[in-house]
Symmetry: C2
DNA sequence: ACTATTTTTAGAAGAAAATCAAAATAAGGA
DNA sequence: TCCTTATTTTGATTTTCTTCTAAAAATAGT
């Protein structure tokens, strides 16, 4: 299956295409092709972004026949949240 | 005064030195020199990181005589929070 | 005016990231 | 087996970041 590449979640979130992918996956899982269609980038480039999101565990992938289905796996965002919370203590709503 | 350079807050947060600066400023304002001393980087490099944090409004700076005093300005983190909250709805604690 | 202190800016080198086109892989069907 | 579809990997190019050294700017004291 695809190769994992990156582990730094902050780096993964720094790219707007990857953040957009996460937003798209919020509604439902998408195939790699569906995701690629949403951007003015080649499928190869989007595939590369997906590899990075996989690498830090923000998405998971599952094969169904020829297609790869990507879905959200946001447990990893906890780390980011934990950092941010350090700066908004007292803002409990 | 110093020149502003960057506006992308996600990009600013992607660097571990800059995140560390934010953590240091959490306790109290620091001079540029104090901050530089915390890292194994030249003062010029740390100054550059500070310029980026300034550029996206995560810190503010004030001059006192020869020294520049940096302090936290985390209102900008709201944008990041807003994004993250989209993924943890239902996790209200 | 000169000097010392603190910090930033300018310029350059190296490393890392984003992107594309082309080739490779995986799976299914004729 | 050969062909088609879906996606990834490879290799190269370009752009963007990080970092340094050296020089410049700002301020205060003598």
């Amino acid at each position: 299956m695809p190769k994992e590449v990156k582990t730094d979640i902050w780096g993964a979130l720094a790219d707007s295409t990857r953040r957009e992918v996460l937003l798209l996956l919020r509604s439902r899982p998408h195939t790699a092709g569906e995701l690629a269609d949403q951007f003015e980038l080649t499928a190869a480039t989007v595939s590369h972004h997906l590899a990075i999101l996989r690498g830090c565990g923000l998405v998971r992938v599952e094969r169904r026949a020829q297609t790869l289905i990507y879905s959200l796996a946001t447990e990893g965002l906890e780390e980011v949240f934990a950092f941010l919370r350090l700066f908004v203590r007292g803002k409990r709503k």
